[in-house]
Symmetry: D2
Subunit: 369 residues, 4 copies
């Protein structure tokens, strides 16, 4: 089977590097275009990028020339599938240009996550939200659209919450995070700020977590999303961990649940089973019953970095239950999340009609019928 | 003024070392006796102890011979003031022996904290609980008693909570900790467990925090304490920090309070002012209005390690308010806490009648009257 | 092809865990027996071991019962290939028992490394030293023998030095190490000793490095080894790194060499090529020409943890050349090293005559001839 | 006694902050002027600076307005004593302007360290080099001059070497460093580069160490310095330590020395004794005979951060002796070093004739005589 060509925006950053790592041997997608800011454009990727992953940068990628971060920057044919790893400010300006050019923009940025007609999706949680793309004006014009995945701190959390919401309903929750430095990109967090230290603040992070959880667990209501009616209170902290966000959660359920019912909800949570998506883990949520797990260094790579590990389920004296959830912030929480979104779009045929005005297509179908 | 002679039990451990550091130049107390387990007894302290603090071990202390951890172990006159830095199991066995021998046992152990007639005290919070000592049988016999300070994770928290409880009442709270490795003593946490990692579990810590907060904020009720009627839910985590426990707190108040009222409660909290206790900080609770403080590396040494720093006061979408509190776990949270307890006891005359049967003393007073 | 059954001594420790990880899917060997100290014997491995690796413990291994660390401890047939991950003191007592029982003991311990008739081998460096096993008394009796690999800090170094010794000769060298905490096992280095710190001392490590390099680069001389005639001066340090030993080396050569000649020596170093040993890396020594490499976090997993990465080759103002070498201390420096030794022994037929008295075998051959 | 007014260039950086910390309660000097780059100029210091030290920023300093980094930037009277904590490029341009304006520029920058007529001084090592200032053209014109202290990695080393050079002569040496991140300033080293890692490269650092040691241990020869005739080979590494550079040294002496002679050389090294300089430590070099010291976390604050701690003296199989030396890189290695230079200049009268054309002064003296 021929692999679909994809491009990566912001290819030199930390998330861009993860995209390259995860796409290097992907059975469905092939990296055809690397784009980055003017500082990098024109250089070989191997020179433009300070590769920070512990698997080698593939030689053929290192040799590719980085091109400018705009549709016109592509000297060849613009790939119709664009993975975007841009800062929010840049994304706000550039992603619509690619959507307007007929591309499926699979974005990791926060820029459009809360826009009414942009799906904010974790496939195991709310793949049905992808229907929102049909409300996007770009979609109607040339087939393009924007799909987003949540903030790295929200993904692990909603994976753990979704099975509980389905079976018991969620009324409110606390979450206190201990987040890895890779979440801030490179150079990101200065070592003087984090060695032997905790920084109890990450700009805009608590706000993002709180609102994104509401949208992710919300319901499609026509061409927008009805938010989950639950109070979410987040405390976000940075700790001296390279990769993997650990989160302490206390949750109040609408319907009482026993410990065994909750464990069963997690164990039986398998919404993508049978779809054979290359990036989907065997088990999206895994419960570890050791008293001191999950731990980022030991558990972040479960399911090739795509599994959220939960542990320490116990009663909460204030709400109902408390537990700890961990997920890899640059795989499940960023590049892997976007990739899984793309795989769902591929599986459901939504990568097929790109770059084609929808009207034309309708006519075409009429003619061919 | 002659300094009172004191002894230290468990002198070679991490908290024992802090006792030595803080007592080395103390104006009221003088180290007269160092005791430790059989492994160390008989050796010079400098040899018996692996000194891990960044101030030098005083030479005269290094030269002292460590003696066995029992009253009879003291070859000279047993000091009547005993600072105890023992593990709970050992403390449970040994501390009563010293109290029975007429000593004021100022304990950092958890062994007797929740005993009905043992005061669990942070002087700024509940110095009036010290009255419980009069209910102790040892006190009646030979004047001795046990006084305890809370777990290192509870002290900073109650310092921040007390001003709120006084003015607004506390109905419930959620606290998620990020605790330093020194809290586990030495060798304590293996480096393989904490480098680049978080361990979301500390044995018995959540239980201790939850019950100790209730007693500390409780009220004297005859010869015992009526616990605070509030629900406390704790999540305890170990992080790669040497010293200083950081805690994220959400609190529900009984009476609504504005931001300014809360800040004023902290600012004006000065229950020990005017008492000139050597170890008391100028300000027990300091609010820092930078967006990213408190941080353990930068703030733990405020007030010579005795001030709790609070920051990030903001509204909580689930309860009322949330904030971060930090305190030094082996100074304010252990040795300094015990020392401050001893200073209050000294100031209030309760170190004067030690080793003397109370009856005798009553007779003596009768005779002298 | 049927896989050969192997046993692991000291299976629950850090190196024991690496053996299990590396042997789990090994094409030639199959774990048939797990042995450990009395504390663990009798328990399921999953319970006896605190698994500290970031790949999951295979379920069938977790279910195996740990047996006592002695040949008689094996309830089934004693595997003839024994990987030993024991502390030196224990190894000194136990390894000879297994050799006497006719086993090939592939040891990672220091106990017998410097014994005259025990080969100390890194296959790429001195596979010919394996001939020493024929001088061992156990070999003559029942076919058993002991083969050792060097200390984790010596392996990366000799891999970098061997190509230089071959082409130019080595007269002396200075090496200063920055070693990972996993080298000390678990619990090993206390976190209070290494967070924000360096410990410039590792017990016996400098002595081991110095003498082992001499033997590894020495020559077979009858039934013993003639040491390399070169002065080696080692400084060993522990740093806050989980895995991967980084070493700064200055070397004096017997024959002048240009930069390009040295790079060529490393590049062309491929003594095992064509042997298809499963654990052998494609390239045992890889030179990285970035100015700031090798780095443990980024480079330790090259060649699945079996490649030594060299960088920063530059002239030395005191000796001739200086460079940095890095290797994974628990894979290339321990379990992987032993495994590669076993693979060479398998390839060269030296795992075939185990447990059979040599005389008997000689007779057998005579009969069959 | 009235304190002399001083200014600080580059006041907001890491070394600038240390200057403020060390000068805050200085008995001889008073901070009168804070200058920094245009980005900070015009703001209150408390706002312009991200204070990263663990002692509080004094309130009166926080309130001072930062002014531009040029002599004309000073709105009041320009202080005649200027502590400069500038990057080398900036220093190269700005420091001469202050010297030309008649200031004593006490510089921590590398810009002029190797200039023939600029003294590079550690007072205990080569205070006599200060005579070089008289060869500076600025000195002749208006009394100003530049004095420098060495790189943070060279200071501890030369303190340990000087007593050996004096008594035995030094022929050559190796030094391999493990340097703290604070040496790179703020933001400096990204946390992703150093958590769980070592970076075996610091730009220009090896070159600086090698040449600076030669000048520091050299001899005044007319109006320049005759370098020490010794080969120095440095390997420089960055490790996950906040403060304190640890260095492994092997040294070849010109004259054989016993262990006891070397220890005596260090013990008796007290070139500043009797001068009562406020920043000078009681003992510039302290030997610790524990097997595993010095360590940065435990020993960097000896002598209030001004003592170099030496340990692990043992024979070197390649050269003569080896040992470990540690010093605080931003106190002894930067701000404290400059401050001590200023104190020596004050004590020797060389801060008295500033801003006055030397000819005028000569005439003045003639008149007054």
């Amino acid at each position: 089977m021929e692999r679909r060509k994809v491009g990566i925006l912001g290819a030199t950053g930390m998330v861009g590097q993860r995209f390259i790592q995860l796409l290097s041997n992907h059975p469905w997608f092939e990296i055809a275009w690397l784009a980055a800011s003017d500082r990098s454009a024109g250089k070989a990727y191997g020179e433009a990028c300070k590769w920070k992953l512990d698997t080698p940068l593939p030689k053929h990628i290192a040799a590719m020339t980085v091109q400018p971060n705009v549709p016109e920057g592509c000297t060849g044919e613009l790939p119709k599938i664009i993975f975007a790893a841009l800062d929010a400010d840049i994304a706000r300006e550039l992603e619509p240009k690619f959507a307007a050019a007929g591309c499926a923009v699979i974005s990791n940025s926060s820029a459009f996550r809360m826009a009414a007609d942009v799906p904010l999706v974790v496939p195991e949680v709310n793949a049905d939200h992808l229907a929102l793309i049909n409300a996007q004006s770009w979609r109607k014009q040339r087939g393009g659209y924007i799909v987003t995945n949540p903030n790295c701190s929200a993904i692990g959390l909603v994976l753990a919450l979704k099975p509980l919401e389905e079976r018991f309903g969620i009324e409110g929750l606390f979450v206190s995070t201990m987040q890895a430095v890779s979440g801030a990109g490179y150079p990101g967090v200065p070592s003087l700020d984090i060695l032997g230290n905790v920084v109890p603040f990450i700009k805009n992070e608590e706000e993002k977590m709180q609102e994104e959880v509401g949208k992710l667990l919300g319901k499609v209501d026509g061409s927008s999303i009805k938010m989950l009616d639950a109070k979410v209170s987040a405390h976000c902290n940075r700790v001296a961990v390279e990769d993997g966000h650990t989160e302490c959660v206390s949750v109040k359920l609408r319907k009482k649940a026993t410990r065994e019912e909750i464990l069963a909800a997690w164990r039986e949570f398998a919404p993508l089973s049978g779809q054979h998506l290359p990036t989907a883990p065997d088990q999206p949520v895994e419960y570890d019953d050791a008293v001191d797990r999950p731990q980022p260094r030991l558990d972040r790579m479960r399911g090739r970095g795509m599994t959220a590990t939960v542990g320490r389920l116990r009663e909460c004296s204030l709400l109902d239950w408390k537990f700890v959830v961990l997920s890899h912030n640059t795989i499940r929480g960023a590049a892997g999340a976007a990739l899984l979104n793309a795989e769902v779009l591929a599986r459901t045929g939504q990568l097929n009609k790109l770059g084609v005005p929808v009207n034309t297509e309708a006519k075409l179908q009429a003619v061919m019928a």
